[in-house]
């Protein structure tokens, strides 16, 4: 069974640009979660999507947004990039049957210069 996949692996953008990160959940999983792991700050919860709806978001500004598609894959968009947005962005998925167990992808390393 394939795990959670994320693309791209690495992304380099300049300040003020927009970034789009993609995530494909484990087959059969309906929830997708996004986290930011910046150096020295630990894993911070960004967004939770389930059945195409945003269920909850963490303490991040509105320029962090996303969506979940009918096939349960997801996009995270970051607008007006700032240097502090440089981080590893991790996506996780969970099933309807065991909603509290999250399985993570390898992450997208975003560098803002």
């Amino acid at each position: 069974e394939a795990g959670v996949t994320q693309s791209p692996t690495h992304l380099i953008k300049t300040r003020g640009q927009q970034a789009t990160l993609r995530c494909s959940p484990i087959s059969g999983h309906t929830s997708v979660y996004w986290y930011q792991q910046a150096l020295g700050l630990g894993l911070q919860f960004l967004l939770w999507y389930d059945e195409g709806e945003e269920r909850n978001r963490g303490n991040f500004p509105p320029r962090f947004s996303g969506r979940q598609f009918p096939n349960y894959s997801s996009e995270l968009n970051v607008n007006a990039l700032e240097l502090e947005d440089s981080a590893l962005y991790l996506c996780a998925s969970s099933s309807r049957q065991v909603p509290y167990e999250q399985y993570f992808g390898p992450g997208t390393r975003l560098t803002v210069t």
Partner: protein
Amino acid sequence: TQLLEQSPQFLSIQEGENLTVYCNSSSVFSSLQWYRQEPGEGPVLLVTVVTGGEVKKLKRLTFQFGDARKDSSLHITAAQPGDTGLYLCLRRGQNFVFGPGTRLSVLP
């Protein structure tokens, strides 16, 4: 704010030693997951604990959930270099909160 604390922050031990790391909160967990993360990779789920007082074993790893469901511990017996990594606990409350992690280094 529902914060998680983990201790110790760093731990460096020799191969074969035993160790325990902790995850604590001021509020009750409905469930708690333990993960291990290696540099540049996503966290890997180790275990989920749900019931107060629950003990789960995964080979040399023993996970315990406190009776009051406010704390959890991870004990590793006879640590090996392959156990090296960042150990994280995750709780689900209003949102999802990770602890800051314990960075373990097992030296051969």
